[in-house]
């Protein structure tokens, strides 16, 4: 497989570029010059610009990066663990499960912390999708996707029930939040979700080489010395934590976890020792750039989930159509 060192560095450094672009662009453009003023001590600094940068734009970019890291890392992990390049947290229903957990905690059970609720139900969703699809120690590609659809639909229906039960004020916020948006981003959200996302991503990052073995299949992984049951559980847990934390602050943002690892694999090959860190980097930049588009494209602001879906859905079709080219087939 071609190594493509340029691709490696391009992906690795892309978050920096995305950061620089996103900091400048917005409803209130911040020029290089304003930046210079801000970073030079002693200059008179405009309070307004400071507020825009530090209280609005910066937390939003940080949160976008965290969510991008979490979604792509979990996507790459789930693809390896389930030996299925066509899944991610969104398709398997982890996101829907997390959303239900959040809605439950917001609307009905305030005693349940949002992140915990999201985590519990995204884990349940993952286990459901896996158990439904597994037959005779194998998890066929297509059945896993179908069981993901089922699980997703189930939890979406549960969320709908909650939507019916809550008052209209809460309903509006739930609906907007479910579309997947970074518009609620602030430092509080970063503090709430950041540690969880980073913890899950760190686990995945540390175990990245073992994902190669996991993706060989149960019998093979066991022969190589992997305690399959336990490690699969650990990786799914890590993915669920990350996704749950991301969903709890931004709602459901789909397709990122599917698309990003694929693009990375196309550029640098399938070895997870490279795929995991580079997916995290590329996910962060993709998320931030998509969000920049979302908040600047039209007059108002559209949920970033719509942007990622507009990219992701055609990409999924493309993957389906080229099928065996990457050695997997349905």
């Amino acid at each position: 497989m071609r190594r493509r060192p340029w691709a490696y560095w391009l992906l690795l450094l892309s978050p920096l570029a995305a950061f620089l672009v996103a900091m400048q662009v917005g409803a209130y453009p911040v020029s290089w010059k304003a930046w210079w003023h801000l970073l030079t001590p002693g200059r008179s600094q405009e309070v307004q610009i400071q507020a825009i940068i530090f209280d609005i734009r910066l937390p939003r970019i940080v949160l976008g990066m965290l969510v991008g890291v979490g979604l792509s890392a979990s996507g790459a992990t789930l693809q390896a663990v389930f030996r299925n390049p066509l899944v991610d947290a969104y398709i398997l229903g982890l996101s829907a499960g997390a959303a239900f957990g959040c809605a439950l905690s917001v609307a009905l059970v305030p005693a349940l912390p949002i992140q915990v609720g999201a985590f519990i139900f995204s884990l349940i969703a993952a286990l459901l999708a896996f158990t439904l699809a597994r037959t005779r120690r194998e998890v066929p590609t297509l059945s896993l996707i179908l069981s993901g659809v089922v699980v997703s639909a189930f939890f979406t229906a549960l969320v709908s029930i909650i939507k019916f039960m809550v008052d209209p004020m809460k309903l509006a916020s739930i609906v907007f939040w479910l579309m997947g948006s970074l518009s609620q981003a602030d430092w509080r959200a970063v503090r709430q979700a950041g540690p969880w996302i980073l913890a899950g991503a760190a686990l995945i990052w540390l175990g990245r080489w073992r994902l190669n073995a996991m993706s060989m299949g149960e019998a093979e992984a066991r022969a190589l010395g992997v305690d399959v049951g336990r490690e699969r559980g650990l990786f799914i847990l890590a993915a669920a934590v990350t996704v749950a934390a991301a969903v709890s602050v931004t709602g459901i943002i789909g397709w990122v976890g599917l698309m990003i690892p694929h693009i990375v694999r196309m550029l640098v090959g399938p070895d997870h020792r490279r795929v995991i860190p580079l997916s995290m980097a590329a996910g962060a930049s993709f998320m931030v750039l998509s969000d920049t588009v979302a908040r600047t494209m039209v007059g108002g602001e559209i949920p970033v989930g719509i942007i990622t879906t507009l990219f992701g859905a055609p990409f999924f079709i493309y993957l389906l159509k080229r099928g065996g080219a990457e050695s997997w087939s349905l």
Binding site: A80, L206, G207, R210, R222, L224, G225, G269, S327, W328
Partner: protein
């Protein structure tokens, strides 16, 4: 060393192996011969702890198999599976490197020493030209070599191979068996493999075990065990034999 005592395996209520006892010595190539469905693969799977037997004891390098953890087992025993369909197109080098998994700490990555081992194996197997090719786009024989390489990277004491000559042409069959023989004789590896061709067993085996309907019917040196009568019985076929000095050749008698 492999020592099996009174091993019985039942799968879905069917008795697959019945009180099987055998020994395979270090430095020897031990060949399992038997018709389809005689339990050869089941025996290998039991030895690699992928099937739990109902009765019997298995010792691998003097350690009871039942007491070995998955990770420790991978350091003692390596198995080349019959067929394998990977999802992602890892390079041959990456596949072989995975053999080091049981020797690298849980949260660590393979280091310089591991890469060195892999490079040595690639040279030993003479597959330098394949090292950076996707494992999914090489021929069956080349894949067999890559998997053998992965097993060697485990630095095992016991090596199991399930029909390593499957899908290989004549030359490659001879080549891989010769290679395995050299490994056993030089490094003192205990090798147990299954074959379909008694003639290859005559040439390459140090010891032969005949398996029929889940029972061992004979065990010993190839020249003693493989003959027209035993083969005729084992495969239910009329078999003739040609001799030329030490060389023997079995052939089916057509009626």
């Amino acid at each position: 060393m492999i020592a099996v005592n009174d091993l019985s395996v039942r799968l879905n209520g069917q008795l697959i192996l019945h009180q099987v006892s055998l020994k395979a010595r270090p430095g020897d190539v031990t060949v399992l011969l038997g018709p389809n469905g005689s339990g050869k693969t089941t025996l290998l799977l039991s030895l690699s702890a992928q099937i739990t037997p109902q009765e019997g004891h298995i010792l691998l390098a003097d350690q009871p198999l039942a007491e070995l953890k998955t990770r420790d087992l991978a350091q003692v025993l390596a198995i080349v599976p019959q067929e394998h369909h990977p999802v992602f197109p890892y390079t041959v080098r990456e596949v072989i490197l995975l053999g080091r998994l049981s020797r690298v700490g849980f949260w660590s990555q393979p280091g310089a020493r591991d890469r060195e081992v892999v490079t040595e194996i690639i040279e030993l197997l003479g597959i330098k030209h394949l090292a950076d090719k996707p494992y999914t786009r090489i021929s069956g024989g080349e894949r067999q070599l890559a998997l053998l390489g992965r097993c060697l990277a485990q630095e095992p004491l016991v090596l199991l191979l399930d029909e390593p000559t499957n899908h290989l042409d004549f030359r490659n069959q001879v080549m891989i068996l010769q290679l395995i023989g050299n490994l056993a004789h030089r490094q003192g590896l205990t090798v147990l493999l299954t074959l379909h061709d008694p003639n290859l067993a005559l040439v390459f085996a140090d010891q032969v075990i005949l398996l029929a309907a889940g029972r061992i019917v004979a065990q010993g040196r190839p020249a003693d065990v493989i003959g027209p009568e035993t083969m005729a019985q084992l495969y239910g076929l009329e078999v003739g034999m040609l001799c030329q000095g030490e060389q023997r050749l079995l052939y089916p008698k057509l009626t």
